[in-house]
Symmetry: C2
């Protein structure tokens, strides 16, 4: 069965989406990703969509869902590499990637992810102190 | 046109091959990768093939070629994530991935790549001293 590979780099999982998503593939990715976050105790997910020429409402919802699921499992998500034309289309179609953080490229995405992970950790520590 | 995305992480380029290769795609990948190595001054290339169920002689030659080209441009290449069944088939078919270094997963691949880059750097320094 076709599935999208998930690469582990330390406590960050890296996903490169290269093919158009359809229902089953999206489900498999969500399953795989949540399982891997739990297994590896990953703190962040980086999703590269640089090879996608089109991001429609379905793809937008998948990205939103993944981000939300990861968040519930205490992992931050950043989407990187969006093509300029895709950004234009998203805005023109009135689509918003709800709850999805984006960055220009992998380098900046990693920096953003590190900052998000750090601020989450600090919040957790603050809560710990209050108790 | 379809093309395989190349992600930059510091001085390492990361390629995830998810689709079966055909001539034009392989050519494009070789072109893109060599251009990126030169542009970014990359020292290493990590190729993930975990989603490939089949590695035939054509794919083997592409991996070999990429590794050789990168080597000429002074970048080390490591192929990671090969499925056990693929390894068995490769040996049974008598195919050898000439000049290609492999590692089990991305983590180990990164470690191997760092070691290879370091030893290349040391060699260069030694040559520099001898002159």
């Amino acid at each position: 069965m076709e599935r999208i590979p998930i690469l582990r780099m330390g406590d960050i999982l890296l996903v490169t989406i290269q093919v158009d998503m359809y229902d089953r593939l999206a489900m498999t990715l969500q399953d795989d990703l949540t399982t891997r976050i739990a297994e590896n105790g990953a703190r962040g997910v980086l999703i590269d969509i640089s090879s996608l020429d089109v991001v429609d409402s379905f793809m937008g919802r998948i990205l939103s869902n993944i981000s939300l699921m990861a968040s519930v499992l205490d992992a931050a998500t950043v989407v990187v590499g969006m093509q300029p034309a895709v950004a234009i289309t998203l805005v023109e179609l009135g689509l918003s990637l709800q709850g999805v953080k984006t960055a220009l490229n992998v380098g900046r995405g990693m920096t953003l992810l590190r900052a998000m992970i750090e601020s989450r950790t600090e919040e957790t520590e603050d809560v710990g102190r209050e108790e």
